[in-house]
């Protein structure tokens, strides 16, 4: 069964360093998302991406964040200068665009980012 994959599973970095989190969405899906979950808190939306551009982003997704689909399979989230409060589990998700536009998102296993 197709699934969303993410690498690495755990990333440890120093405050101020750049990190890139990688995702491979399900192959025929057209919408891509990043969410994060700080330990013990809700899953929070960061950004949605469709047709090679950002379609929606949250207040969390400031100038320190960027997303890219560098080729036909990968979808990346870059944090330019990490802060302690960026420590969280980051989930990638994808969905197939259907007529009417409402259908489920499939999530990857997550990347745990620890900023020291």
């Amino acid at each position: 069964e197709p699934e969303v994959t993410q690498t690495p599973s755990h990333q440890v970095t120093q405050m101020g360093q750049e990190v890139i989190l990688r995702c491979v969405p399900i192959s025929n899906h057209l919408y891509f998302y990043w969410y994060r979950q700080i330990l013990g808190q809700k899953v929070e939306f960061l950004v949605s991406f469709y047709n090679n551009e950002i379609s929606e982003k949250s207040e969390i997704f400031d100038d320190q964040f960027s997303v890219e689909r560098p080729d036909g399979s990968n979808f990346t989230l870059k944090i330019r200068s990490t802060k302690l409060e960026d420590s969280a589990m980051y989930f990638c998700a994808s969905r197939l665009r259907l007529a009417g536009g409402v259908n489920e998102q499939f999530f990857g296993p997550g990347t745990r980012l620890t900023v020291l």
Binding site: Y33, Y35, K42, V43, Y50, R95, V102, N103, Q105, P109
Partner: protein, 115 residues
């Protein structure tokens, strides 16, 4: 602002003891309500999508229902392997009247089923 509130925060059941989880929502225009299961350290696993009030979906021991203000996840005769956090999420139209799939999640209900 879209809001999703789940109750209870935690629920302990004996194996075979049926119960329900609640998800209350406030949105500008609901496009869909989703239930996910999340195991510790893992990503959310899709369970159900509900689109309109009165709709019901079933899968094994789980049944999800939807009204105009809330959704219920009914668990019939649960087993220990049903232990997980159950997440409710809504997809709504944004300020521009469109929807690109952004999900707003509740904080989840931690379900523990004892043998």
């Amino acid at each position: 602002e879209d809001q999703v509130t789940q109750s209870p925060e935690a629920l302990r059941l004996q194996e075979g003891e049926s119960s329900s989880l609640n998800c209350s929502y406030t949105v500008s225009g609901l496009r869909g309500l989703f239930w996910y299961r999340q195991d510790p350290g893992k990503g959310p696993e899709f369970l159900f999508t509900l689109y309109s009030a009165g709709e019901e979906k079933e899968k094994e021991r789980l049944k999800a229902t939807l009204t105009k203000k809330e959704s219920f996840l009914h668990i019939t005769a649960p087993k220990p392997e049903d232990s997980a956090t159950y997440l409710c999420a809504v997809q709504a139209v944004n300020a521009g009247g469109t929807s690109y799939g952004k999900l707003t999640f509740g904080q989840g209900t931690i379900l523990t089923v004892h043998p």
